[in-house]
Each structure stands twice: as structure tokens, then as C-alpha cells.
């Protein structure tokens, strides 16, 4: 595992204080900070200001691929091994809709998971952590050089952090 960079790790008990701290860190021009939260909180996510996750594109592409492959598979297999019953058409769309639908859902879901894994790893940053961040505290880790650490520490304390520590 990659060693996290040096920086300042702050813990907040209050959501509004954490959101204010995040906004101030951003105003200082810092972009590569990491925020920890035990639940997805709108106020925090708004303060961080990410764009909507691209996972939705994976879902769309997966779903469309599933639908198309459901159509292609059923039609091709019907003509590849033709069994004519009562002179009816070999490629009969209505019963194949069930297969197309199921594959739309299946590949849509699997692509969503693939997208989730891909983007989570892609946007992963090595950062210092405290186990209480999955329990009841909000964490903010700001990587910074030793000369900036004091200023960042003061900024986070001023915003209402209950604990601030410098990590090397």
C-alpha cells in the first residue's frame, strides 16, 4: 500500500463545522484533500463539490450492451439451428423480449459494479485515517508541506475541529 503523504488530519463532531472547514481548505487552494464521513451527507458532499459520478455511464452502456446481446444471441441461435414449428417465423421477437430484458438488467448491474470499482480505485488517494471516521466523526485530511502545516492546523481548529494532529 502506498504510504500516505505528510499533512494535517482533523476530526469534526459537527457536520456544519466540517463543511465550513472543507470550504475554507478549498479557498486556500488545496484540491487533493480527503474527507471521511460515516454516512453520505449532502452538506459535506456539497462542500466538497464533486461532479456527479461517471458510474451512471457504465450502467447505461452495460444495459444497452445487455439488450443488444440478448437480441443478437436469441436471433442468431434461432437461425443457426432452425426448428420450424407450424410454419411460424424462426426469429420470433415477443418471447425473446424476456431474454433481452433479463440481459439488460444483468449486464447493467454488472457494469455498474465494474464502474464503481474502477472509479473508486482511480480516484483513490493515499491519506491518513482514524477508525472513528466510520463511527461518529467526520475527518478531513489535508496533505501539505511542513511549512504550511501550522497554518492548516489553525484553519481547521478555527472551523471547529475537535481534534487536529500533524501526520508525517
Amino acid at each position: 500500500m502506498k504510504r500516505p503523504p505528510a499533512g494535517v488530519l482533523a476530526a469534526f463532531q459537527h457536520v456544519d463545522a466540517a463543511a465550513s472547514g472543507i470550504r475554507q481548505v478549498k479557498q486556500q487552494g488545496c484540491k487533493d484533500f480527503t474527507v471521511y464521513c460515516p454516512v453520505p451527507n449532502f452538506e459535506i458532499l456539497q462542500a466538497v463539490g464533486h461532479r456527479v459520478s461517471p458510474v451512471r455511464l457504465w450502467t447505461l452502456i452495460g444495459g444497452l450492451t445487455g439488450f443488444a446481446s440478448g437480441y443478437a444471441m436469441t436471433m442468431w441461435m434461432s437461425y443457426d439451428y432452425p426448428i420450424v414449428v407450424g410454419g411460424k417465423a424462426l426469429g420470433s421477437i415477443p418471447p425473446y423480449i424476456v431474454i433481452m430484458f433479463e440481459l439488460t438488467i444483468l449486464l447493467g448491474a454488472l457494469a455498474t459494479i465494474a464502474g464503481l470499482i474502477f472509479h473508486t480505485f482511480q480516484t483513490h488517494r493515499a491519506a491518513h485515517y482514524d477508525p472513528r471516521f466510520t463511527n461518529d466523526l467526520i475527518g478531513v485530511f489535508v496533505p501539505c508541506s511542513p511549512e504550511r502545516q501550522k497554518a492548516v492546523e489553525q484553519l481547521l481548529r478555527g472551523a471547529g475541529a475537535t481534534e487536529v494532529r500533524v501526520e508525517q
Partner: protein
């Protein structure tokens, strides 16, 4: 994610730390009762497995199949378990999309039930076909005979529907578990810490993780939602596409879906009642949750009752002799006991749910849920066995009596289901830590109207 709850849903709102503590405490060292229950489930499962081996050794003749009834207890039980699964997806996915706050405390149990119920259901078509080792013939794969499967057959639709349902519901369960496993990891010690460190997939609740996770979870819920309606519709078409009197009817898809949600809600109640007691989760799962589940039961129970009435009415109104005869046979023929068990348990007993007192009484709900599950198993028995035993020609009518092998495999399926359920319940959180926290507003420094 979930909306802010009405205050009564979490009566004295616990703190985030209390939620983590209370739910993590359910994963402590199991007591003797747990081991006794688990051992019983395993013994029952092994008995079923022994019966299955017997059937594999001597062939399907040891089951009670006799022409014309070649679909018996196995297909009945398959439909029963697939049906059970549905309410789990309803509670976890559909109610999530509706931002229903009450679901947060109960959806994990429902979801776990879904996954294990589909796992159980999936065994029965394999058991039913007899030669289990040829099960892979159901999958379209290139083979030397250059033969493909018949996509026009509802039985093949089932293969795709059930496989998709299992994959999507298992995925949805696992994704929902990740933040909770991380919470438990951070307070655990010993081998559990190692287990949760691996299974939490390095979750730390970072802004980027939540950013992608919340979207993925939303889309998975949206994808799982149509499955609630589609899977049991496809199962119903196994019957409705044929011309057997009592099966060939357009009402089957909605009738089966309503019945599936009905039986699933009943099993959720059956599981939640002991679970909350044993795990001391009364603070999180209480009368309000049972009342909401009871309302779902009441709604779907009324739909099922309406479907029963409609079936009988149409059989009479159609003027079709075979239909009339089939439905007369259901009520007054050799299998009258099965039909009346179904009608009383599914049509009459749920009428008690109109009373708020019953809906809020946990013991009453537990007893009712057991009767409803019994009734729903018999509903499938009536639809399948009774219809097949009384088709068109009197010389081709016959009687089916399940053998000890049928009953043992049915019983074994309950052992199989409860074994997985118990193993899961003691190793992973049965109440969602993150989502229960979500319905409680985070502490604020400044009081606002937000």
C-alpha cells in the same frame, strides 16, 4: 440517500456511536441457543440431502410423480421460494427509491432472505429434472451437436430470470454491506478484524468512495426494481403459456407477483420477530415497522384474495366446461383440504390485519405470518398439482401423493435456507449501520431550521 425519518421511527434517537455499538454487539460470541438452532438446520438439511442422494441413486420414481402429475412438490417449492424472495427486493430497492425511512432497520434482513431464498429456489428445478449432472444443458453454450436452447420456452426464460435475479440481488446485498463491514472492522478485534478488513474492500468512507457508491447503489436499486415484477411474472408464464385448465389465464402474472410479495413479507415478519429479541434490537425494530409490513401484507393479501375470487368467477362465467370442472375439483375434489387451507390462510386470516391492534401486536403478527406462509405453499400446490391431476379427459385424470423423498427434500430446503441465514446473521450486521445513521440528522454546532 434516505430521507429524514419521522421522529417515531427511531423513538429516542441513538447517537451514531450507539448505533455502531448496538449493531456490532449482535456479532458477539454466539450462545448455546444459536448453536442448537444451527445444528438443527444442518441436520435437517443433511436429511434432505440424503433423500436427494436416494433419488439420484434410484431415479425420479422414488418421488411421488405419477402421470398425469409430473410437476409436484419440487416445482411447488421452487415457486414458493422464488416468491419468498420478492419482498426482500421490494423493501430494499423499491422502498429505497421512494425514500421510505422505515425500511432502513429491516431491509438487510429482507435482502439476506431474498438471496438465500433464491439460492434455495434455484436447487429445485435441478432436483426436479432428475439427472442433475445434465443441468448445464440449460445454458446456451457451443457444443459439438451444434444445438442451441429453445428461447421460445418459458422454462428457459426462467433460467435467465432466476440467474439474473440471484446475481443482481446478491450484488445489491454485498454493495450495501460494504460500509457496514467497515464500521464493524473498525471496532472489531482478532480474526473478525481480519475477516472484515478483507471483506470491507478497503472502505473508509472517503468523499470519493461515497460519490461513486451512492450513484452505484441508486442505479442498482433502479435495476433491481423491475425484477420484483418480472421474475415472478416469468415464473407464472411457466404455467400460463400452457393450456392446462386453471393455468391458461392472463391474470397469472399480477396474481403471482402479489402472492410473492405477500408470502415474502410474511417470512420477513417471521424472521424479524425472533431476530430483534435475540439480538436485542427492540430499539431499532419495533411496532411501527411491523405495522408497516402488516399494511403491505394487507394490501397484497387483498390482491391475492381478489385474484382467487376472479379465478373462480371467470371459470364460471367463461362457460368453459374444463375450467368449471377444474375449479369445482379444486374446492370439492380429492384435494379440498389443500384448497381450503389456502383460502383460509391467505384469504380469510389476513382480514384481521384491518385491526390496528393486530397490526401492532408482534406475537399476533408472528402467528399470522406462519399461517400465511403455510397458505402460500398450499396455493402453489393447488395451482400446480390439482390443476394437473384434473385436465380434460377423465381417463387421463389422476392422483398425486408426495412420497417421503418429496417431503424430506422440502424439509431439507428449510434447513438449507436457515443454515445460511443463521451463519450470515452471526457474522455480518443484520441491520444496516450506515442507513440507520442516515435517518438521524448529524449533530450540528449551530441550530438552524435545516
Amino acid at each position: 440517500m434516505a430521507a429524514v425519518a419521522k421522529p417515531e421511527l427511531v423513538r429516542v434517537p441513538p447517537t451514531y456511536a450507539e448505533i455502531t455499538h448496538d449493531i456490532s454487539a449482535t456479532l458477539g460470541k454466539p450462545g448455546r441457543t444459536y448453536y442448537l438452532l444451527l445444528a438443527s438446520a444442518i441436520v435437517i438439511m443433511l436429511w434432505g440431502a440424503a433423500a436427494l442422494l436416494w433419488q439420484v441413486r434410484y431415479g425420479l420414481g422414488v418421488a411421488g410423480y405419477r402421470p398425469p402429475v409430473m410437476w409436484g412438490v419440487y416445482i411447488t417449492t421452487f415457486v414458493f421460494w422464488v416468491g419468498i424472495a420478492h419482498s426482500g427486493t421490494l423493501v430494499s430497492a423499491i422502498l429505497y427509491l421512494f425514500r421510505s425511512a422505515w425500511r432502513t432497520a429491516v431491509y438487510r434482513t429482507a435482502e439476506v432472505m431474498t438471496v438465500f431464498a433464491v439460492m434455495t429456489a434455484g436447487l429445485f428445478p435441478l432436483i426436479h429434472v432428475g439427472r442433475i449432472w445434465y443441468a448445464y444443458w440449460l445454458i446456451p453454450y457451443p457444443n459439438q451437436r451444434q444445438l442451441w436452447v429453445n428461447f421460445k420456452s418459458p422454462l428457459l426464460w426462467d433460467v435467465f430470470a432466476v440467474t439474473t435475479y440471484f446475481t443482481v440481488s446478491a450484488t445489491f446485498l454485498i454493495v450495501g454491506l460494504i460500509p457496514d463491514i467497515a464500521s464493524v472492522r473498525d471496532v472489531a478485534s482478532g480474526w473478525r478484524k481480519k475477516l472484515y478488513s478483507i471483506t470491507s474492500l478497503a472502505w473508509r468512507g472517503t468523499d470519493q468512495q461515497w460519490r461513486h457508491y451512492t450513484r452505484a447503489y441508486l442505479y442498482l436499486a433502479a435495476l433491481a426494481t423491475p425484477l420484483v415484477l418480472s421474475v415472478h411474472s416469468v415464473v407464472s408464464w411457466d404455467f400460463a403459456m400452457s393450456i392446462v385448465p386453471g393455468w391458461h389465464t392472463t391474470i397469472f402474472a399480477p396474481y403471482f407477483v402479489a402472492g410473492a410479495i405477500y408470502s415474502g413479507c410474511a417470512l420477513v415478519i417471521t424472521l424479524l420477530v425472533p431476530l430483534r429479541k435475540v439480538f436485542k434490537l427492540e430499539r431499532y425494530i419495533h411496532e411501527d415497522h411491523f405495522e408497516n409490513l402488516a399494511k403491505l401484507l394487507l394490501l397484497t393479501g387483498m390482491l391475492v384474495g381478489y385474484a382467487y375470487g376472479s379465478e373462480y368467477f371467470i371459470a364460471w362465467y367463461s362457460g368453459n366446461d374444463a375450467e368449471r370442472s377444474s375449479f369445482w375439483f379444486r374446492a370439492f375434489g380429492q384435494y379440498w383440504w389443500a384448497t381450503w387451507t389456502m383460502l383460509i390462510c391467505n384469504g380469510f386470516l389476513p382480514l384481521f390485519l384491518w385491526f390496528k391492534k393486530i397490526r401492532r401486536s408482534i406475537p399476533a403478527m408472528f402467528v399470522l405470518s406462519l399461517f400465511i406462509n403455510l397458505g402460500m405453499w398450499f396455493e402453489r400446490f393447488v395451482i400446480i398439482v390439482v390443476s394437473l391431476s384434473h385436465e380434460y379427459e377423465p381417463y387421463a385424470m389422476g392422483h398425486y401423493t408426495p412420497s417421503w423423498v418429496d417431503w424430506s427434500i422440502l424439509l431439507g430446503s428449510f434447513g438449507w435456507f436457515f443454515m445460511w441465514f443463521l451463519l450470515f446473521a452471526k457474522n455480518f450486521p443484520m441491520v444496516s449501520i450506515a442507513e440507520v445513521k442516515e435517518i438521524i440528522p448529524m449533530p450540528r454546532k449551530e441550530r438552524t431550521h435545516a
